[in-house]
């Protein structure tokens, strides 16, 4: 009866007034399934959606979207569908054809369409095929993203259809890739799947690897292999699969060997206690494993407990029953193609990882270079070890922190902090040189000790001022991201910045040392202080200048290190040993020696970490041991020093 009245209203509305204007391809298609649309169920809606999609009406995507968003309405009086949201007591109605306003309706006359989550998901899937052809590239990309996240076989056809008309090359490439991914996973035609797999072999992305791994999933079963099973390989117990797991599998397959665990044995023995004896043996004698098994075997012979199988029985059973890994994918041609493709990809991934490792090593080397170069200069020129060098790094980092708490803009504060850190740390260096090191000339061990004292003091003073907690040194936004080449190779901008900084300092130092008067004097003092002094160079002044320069660079390095590592009063001590290693390995007093040393230590550390990725602590241990051995071979470093100290 209600149906009849609805039909009547519908007819009426077709005939009279505004309702007539609502008639169009979308409304017609909707009205064909009006009841199911008004009250959809996840099980029955799919044919309706297919039908709606097939209608090809231009406004259909808009309606589906609104429907999924719960913005679709139905007017009770005539059963027509509209778009719109409630506004007070009335609903402004929008046409399902083109979204134009077509009047308002009272609240009582409107039913909001509220499909449940399951239906909404189906609607969204149906929408994707429209979105794939949407004129707006962003929406096409969004559809592709949705599809990548949740690929379904149904969308393969619309996806393929949409490739033809795609004009945007990037999107077309993505569509093609996605087409292959879905083909590999859900395709029915083996030839087509193999073709897609072979195409994947040239890729490196995580998705490609995931798709191929998906094809290659295996199940472990107890042999012999059933007919048509696509056997990947035979698993050897004890090698490919733990023996206990193998036995458990056999037990599942009904081939149980009644092994007796130690706990079960002991329980059986305790149960069998009879007047302080077990199977005739005094309890006190059962204090070895052999004695206990012996007692158990005696019980088994008496028939009170199940006998334990001979050790050979287990081995025989394992040997007699093959345990197989079987591909879930039945077609051997497909799995073979996928294995080959995956091997190819993995070879490429390995090469990319090597490149990534090289980038990592390079960035680590530039950090070590920055931390060590100041030390190399002072050590080379004055022959003194400055154990407080690490604390100059710390001073630089804290300078950056203080500047940042005064200047809120991160970029500006960095611009201020870098030169300021140079000045502050340089001044501290000069003070140290004037107050302590000058008085200990030609007593290198004493210098080492005195600067140790300074280092202990500075650390504690900074701890007292700034607290034991690490303070933040935030990098500006433009340094936050990473430069990603592909899914394997990537490097953060901050590390690139440090690399650039190290390169700048290398260039500046080489220029100063080779092209300026100061550089000439520094080189002269390095090679022969006495001769340089007799020729009018003041070694004292040169020493002070190099100390200022070396300490200043440490301060700048501190700002750079603070941007990615924690700024604490102990951060300097983390770098001091590495810095000395760099200087000693590279060769004292040479800029390029330090560069080589930093490169070697950085590369070595990353290399060892790569060999043993779980353990960075062990990597440092091995690296230090290697350096100790390296010093045996080249006691004067990679680039040996020329001149007076080189004896």
């Amino acid at each position: 009866m209600r149906r009849l009245s609805l039909a009547l209203t519908f007819l009426l509305s077709l005939l009279c007034g505004p309702g007539f204007a609502q008639s169009g391809p979308v409304q017609t298609a909707l009205q064909a399934h009006a009841e199911q649309i008004a009250d959809p169920s996840r099980r029955t809606i799919q044919p309706v959606l297919d039908d709606l999609a097939a209608s090809g009406a231009a406004g259909m995507p808009r309606f589906l979207e609104a429907w999924a968003d719960k913005r679709a309405l139905r007017r009770d009086s005539d059963g027509l569908f509209f778009l719109g949201e409630r506004d007070g007591d009335s609903y402004p109605l929008l046409s399902v054809e083109d979204g134009s306003a077509v009047g308002t309706a009272l609240r009582d006359d409107i039913t909001e369409l509220k499909p449940n989550a399951g239906v909404r998901r189906l609607i969204a899937t149906a929408l994707v095929q429209f979105q794939l052809n949407d004129p707006d590239p962003d929406r096409r990309l969004a559809a592709l993203d949705a599809l990548t996240r949740n690929p379904t076989p149904d969308l393969l056809a619309p996806l393929r259809a949409s490739i033809e008309n795609e004009e945007n090359r990037t999107i077309r490439a993505r569509k093609e890739a996605l087409d292959r991914l879905i083909t590999i996973r859900f395709g029915t035609d083996p030839a087509r799947r193999i073709e897609a797999i072979e195409w994947m072999a040239a890729r490196i992305s995580l998705e490609a690897r995931a798709a191929l791994n998906n094809v290659l999933t295996t199940d472990t079963i107890v042999g012999p292999a059933p007919d048509g099973a696509n056997v990947a390989r035979v698993l050897t117990p004890g090698e490919d699969i733990p023996e206990a797991d193998a036995l458990a599998l056999l037990a599942e397959a009904g081939l149980e060997v009644a092994t007796v665990s130690r706990a079960a044995r002991d329980a059986a023995l305790v149960d069998a206690i009879d007047g302080g004896r077990i199977a005739g043996r005094p309890i006190a004698t059962l204090d070895t494993e052999a004695a206990r098994w012996d007692a158990y075997d005696a019980l088994a012979e008496a028939g009170t407990v199940p006998p334990r199988p001979a050790e050979t029985a287990i081995a025989e059973l394992l040997a007699a029953t093959p345990i197989l890994a079987v591909y879930d994918e039945p077609d051997p041609a497909v799995t073979a193609a996928a294995e080959t493709a995956l091997a190819e990809i993995e070879a490429r991934v390995a090469r990319a990882e090597a490149a990534d490792l090289a980038l990592d090593a390079l960035s680590l080397a530039s950090i070590y270079f920055l931390a060590a170069i100041g030390l190399a200069i002072t050590f080379g020129v004055m022959g003194v070890i400055n154990m407080a060098h690490g604390e100059f790094i710390m001073i630089g980092a804290y300078t950056g922190y203080v500047v940042q708490s005064i200047v809120p803009d991160y970029t500006l504060s960095l611009v201020v902090a870098l030169p300021l850190a140079f000045v502050v740390a340089g001044a501290a260096g000069v003070a140290l040189e004037r107050l302590v090191i000058r008085h200990l000339a030609h007593r290198p061990l004493e210098t080492l000790l005195a600067t140790f004292g300074i280092s202990i003091m500075l650390q504690q003073i900074f701890k007292n001022i700034f607290g034991t907690q690490a303070v933040p040194l935030t990098s500006p936004d433009w340094l936050a991201g990473a430069w990603v080449l592909n899914d394997v190779v990537g490097i953060s901008y901050i590390r690139i910045a440090i690399f650039v900084l190290a390169a700048i300092f290398l260039a500046v130092l080489v220029y100063i040392l080779r092209r300026t008067r100061l550089g000439l004097e520094v080189r002269a003092v390095t090679q022969n202080p006495g001769m340089a002094a007799s020729l009018g160079v003041d070694p004292d002044k040169v020493g002070m200048a190099t100390f200022a320069l070396g300490s200043g660079i440490a301060g700048v390095a501190g700002v750079a290190i603070g941007l990615f590592a924690q700024v604490t009063s102990e951060m300097g001590s983390a770098y001091i040993v590495q810095s000395f290693m760099t200087v000693v390995v590279g060769g004292v007093g040479s800029v390029f020696g330090t560069l080589a040393g930093a490169g070697m230590i950085g590369g070595l550390q990353k290399g060892i970490e790569w060999l043993n990725p779980s353990n960075t602590l062990a990597a440092q241990t091995y690296m230090i041991l290697f350096i100790i051995l390296f010093i045996q071979v080249r006691p004067r470093g990679i680039v040996p020093q020329k001149g007076r100290f080189a004896a």
């Binding site: 008085h439 290198p444 005195a450 300074i454 062990a618 041991l625």
Partner: protein
């Protein structure tokens, strides 16, 4: 220059019993131990104070060893405290194993069947290595159940490591600051390795509960602490006698010669490397012994104890005490480490400056660093130099000599 002063025949060794510092040291140690024992009997000093004194004596022993290698031979080792720690680990392994074995055996004895060796091992493994997520017993612990072997390891392992390291370093003529840096790097490597969980020595948890001596569970800590005080004092006394005897003879002269001018000693035909290696290895073993006595009193040993900074503090003690004289090292270690416990333990009163309160727990390290710098700059003889003032020893040159500024020529050496 008189003819006598060119006499190259070695002078007769002065008997140890005639040396003031030896006598004073022996008397001092005897007085200390006897007094503390009596006071402890009367209940006037706490167990923790007795332990502090015992530990301090062990640190003095380590300082004595460092003085031999640095003050007398001129090798600035920044790694001798690592040997101290290794000694502690070696004895700690036995302490932990044996005690765990006793506990495990007691708990397994509750069960109906007598425990098998396999069960006991399994339970010990779970007990000791549970904290690092395994129950397997690492190969390092193969002899942990044997006290004589672990005691031997406490001395031999440091000796072996020092021997290999020293042989490599001295053979390739690594000396001076290079050697210092290398010893520091080696120490860092060792402590980083110990920090890992799969090193087999319980990672950063270290070994704990070492104050409980297996087999002596009925003896109260107050008695055990006295025993360890005596043991530490005896070890220090014997080592002091041995060190005094060594440095007063020809061997000691060669060591000082190496310190003052290595090339000359080599040209005189001495195998400098052998002397250096002997001293380096011997003092490492002495440090191992000191550590083996220290850690049962401390109760816990962990990788942080071995970190490079610990070895640096050892150097600071010797420097402040006055290197190149044995009593200097002992005095320095005693004074500085006791002062350190006093200041950091909250014993020292805060200083009110009106605008700022100096809390010694925060500022003690600054004071220590500053005094270290000042000692290095202005008083290379350290606290030991005060003895010179007391005995009115005149400076034999216009400028007073530090231990690193060359030895005196024969004519100057005449009294």
């Amino acid at each position: 220059m008189s003819v006598e002063s060119l006499d190259i025949a070695p002078r007769a060794r002065r008997p140890l019993a005639a040396r003031t510092d030896v006598i004073a040291m022996m008397l001092g140690l005897a007085t200390l131990t006897v007094c503390v024992t009596l006071l402890a009997q009367m209940g006037l000093v706490s167990v923790s104070f007795v332990k502090l004194l015992g530990k301090t004596l062990c640190l003095c022993l380590a300082a004595l060893a460092l003085d031999l290698v640095w003050g007398f031979t001129g090798i600035l080792s920044l790694g001798h405290f690592a040997f101290f720690g290794i000694g502690g680990y070696a004895i700690g392994m036995w302490l932990m194993w044996d005690r765990t074995e006793a506990i495990v055996a007691a708990s397994l004895a509750q069960s109906t069947l007598p425990p098998t060796p396999f069960e006991i091992r399994e339970a010990i493994g779970t007990q000791i290595f549970g904290v690092v997520g395994t129950s397997e017993i690492p190969w390092l612990w193969a002899y942990a159940g044997s006290l004589p072997l672990q005691l031997a390891f406490a001395v031999l392992v440091p000796g072996l490591i020092a021997g290999i390291f020293g042989w490599l370093a001295f053979r390739s003529r690594v000396a001076g600051v290079y050697l210092s840096i290398l010893t520091q790097a080696g120490t860092l490597a060792l402590s980083l390795w110990l920090f890992q969980n799969d090193s087999g020595l319980r990672g950063n948890n270290g070994l704990s509960g070492l104050q409980n001596i297996p087999g002596l569970t009925d003896v109260p800590q107050s008695v055990i602490s006295i025993w360890f005080l005596w043991a530490s004092a005896i070890a220090l006394a014997l080592s002091y006698l041995g060190a005094s005897w060594t440095v007063s003879g020809r061997f000691g002269s060669v060591l000082r010669g190496i310190r003052d001018n290595e090339a000359r000693v080599r040209f005189l035909g001495y195998e400098v490397e052998h002397y250096k290696l002997a001293v380096f290895t011997g003092t490492a073993m002495l440090c191992g012994l000191a550590g083996a006595l220290y850690y049962p009193q401390a109760g816990i040993v962990n990788p942080a104890e071995i970190a490079p900074i610990a070895s640096i503090y050892l150097v600071v003690w010797v420097a402040i005490g006055g290197r190149g004289r044995l009593y200097g090292a002992v005095i320095g270690a005693a004074v500085v480490s006791l002062a350190s416990s006093w200041f950091t333990g909250g014993g020292a009163p805060d200083i009110e400056l009106g605008f700022y309160t100096i809390k010694w727990t925060d500022w003690w390290l600054v004071l220590l660093g500053l005094s270290f710098v000042l000692v290095t700059l202005y008083a290379p003889k350290g606290l030991g130099g005060l003895v010179d003032i007391y005995t009115h020893k005149r400076a034999r040159r216009r400028e007073d000599l530090g231990p690193d500024q060359g030895s005196l020529r024969g004519e100057e050496e005449q009294p």
